[in-house]
Subunit: 323 residues, 2 copies
């Protein structure tokens, strides 16, 4: 059923696509550091490289894709603004991107979104519309805004310019550590994992991309087995960025090229997060911690390997910590 | 009573003292980054530079002084090891320094010291002796160890080689940002504030050093007014690194050269700490946060000034946070 090699290749963005995107956004984003910890290397028995997008503008890698898409708008589109629905990092990213591009950002958020995320999005100057906390309500509210303002809708993970933008993160990591053996990216909507695959395909010497996914939100894992997108069923994970559904543009890239997905339990995510906070003195969000949890869980796979982790962000509600 | 200009000058380590110390330790420590935050700059109305010793070996700047002292030992002393009593960062620093210098570390800790600090100190290979949680018991236990092993005792903040070593932190900061107007250091035992004064005197173009001290542990503030060391009376502050007593070698340097001490309240310390965690995604300990709290409190003093903060460390008990 899925022998569509051609379809997959047609879906796969090229080396030039990624380089053009990087050229477009690079002067507007931070070149985030790649950090290491001797303690964690010893613990894991391998060389672990943390690509620290928690230090990125807006506190996550999401600005890369949001900015690539926003900078690609026509003048006419730019005048009318961009719109998205998101309860998380993408909301802030769109708000920041709009500021940089000097366009208007409309963000739809469920009314139960943490106050800190609302405030941050407002702080970046976006126009915020609250709605009922259902996917239906979010999509309907977004559609209304798009219709009334003529704003361009942006999907947090499934638009091709967004996916390519997210790939610039692994691209930078590979610039810093060219002989990487593995890159591990968290899998939620699939944007950063598909993006990392694009970067690894074109800019590494055979680095394998592995996905890290909460066992409690394992729709990507199940989708790979099924060979089609399996709906996410009320995912209940602390990794709030990974509760989303694998996207239709990401799925073919991921299913064709990912080495494997490693599932991690909730307590493993929290332990890995705490370990990084304690030892590296940096704040990473639970979604990011899935990557280190995957290394610790499947230690033997990574022995002596150079392993890069996409630390997706650091937006954590510090007043409600899981430890 | 305190007209002893000569005494003070004799106490003041020279430019060469600091350079020699830096040459001795620099290849063994991390060159920690100087970080900034646009948000915090806007909030404070000045340029704030965070010298991030939370990323230093052992999680604090204390390794600088411990290492300078340990590397200055004679061969004979080195064979017998070093000893200290500390419930905090200096314990870990001495343990790490001993590993680097390949000597033995004896650390005396009160039996109520947080388990995480005990484990970290043990993890670095020190020999740990627990004692009753009184200064008397600590000093007596230390004296016993020094007597029986012939180890060299190291004071966490008052030994001259330790003070000079701590000064290398501000020295690096001034290398990165030469035209600094202010450097703010937390004041506890006085090591890093005196060290910063030494660095500013010799390596800046008139940068003023300001001390930040918890109002609940204001012995240095009161000592400056009194013109003599006023004992610290059961200080009760979240800034655990600053509960110590100003030292006899630090006092003359600080009293002669510090611009002023700014007192900050407990809630101001916690707010500043939370702000840094949220916005900069780095973990700083309460003692470090006093410096930013001081800027926020006395905002007008720093308007448009380049202000460097000595972020002393990131050793926080994450399971018992104040927010």
């Amino acid at each position: 059923m899925r022998k569509a090699g051609n379809t997959i290749d047609m879906m796969m963005p090229t080396k030039n696509d990624l380089l053009i995107a990087y050229g477009r956004i690079k002067d507007h984003i931070h070149r985030t550091p790649v950090m290491t910890s001797r303690f964690i290397n010893q613990l894991c028995g391998c060389e672990v490289y943390f690509k620290c997008e928690n230090f990125q503008k807006g506190g996550s890698y999401k600005i890369r894709g949001a900015l690539n898409a926003t900078l690609s708008l026509t003048d006419e589109q730019r005048e009318k603004g961009i719109a998205t629905h998101s309860s998380g990092n993408f909301a802030q990213a769109v708000a920041v991107a709009a500021t940089i591009v000097r366009t208007k950002a409309y963000v739809v958020m469920p009314e139960n979104a943490p106050d800190i995320k609302r405030q941050a999005t407002l702080g970046y100057g976006a126009e915020l519309t609250l709605c009922e906390p259902t996917l239906q309500a979010r999509e309907k509210t977004l559609a209304k805004i798009v219709a009334s303002h003529g704003a361009s809708p942006l999907h947090p993970s499934n638009d091709i310019p967004v996916i390519i933008g997210q790939g610039t993160c692994a691209y930078e990591l590979l610039e810093d550590i060219p002989d990487m053996d593995y890159i591990i990216a968290p899998v939620g909507g699939g944007g950063v994992s598909a993006g990392s695959i694009i970067a690894a395909q074109h800019f590494s010497d055979g680095a394998k991309v592995i996905g890290a996914e909460p066992a409690n939100a394992d729709d990507a894992y199940r989708s790979l087995i099924a060979g089609r997108i399996v709906p996410s069923e009320s995912p209940d994970t602390i990794a709030d960025g990974l509760r989303t559904q694998l996207g239709s543009n990401n799925f073919p890239i991921i299913s064709a090229h990912i080495d494997q997905i490693i599932l991690v339990e909730e307590d493993e995510i929290v332990s890995a997060m705490l370990l990084v906070w304690q030892r590296m003195k940096i704040i990473i969000e639970p979604s990011s911690a899935t990557t280190l949890a995957a290394v610790i869980k499947q230690k033997s796979l990574f022995t002596d390997k150079k392993t890069g982790l996409i630390i997706t962000g650091g937006n954590v509600d510090l007043l409600h910590l899981p430890f």
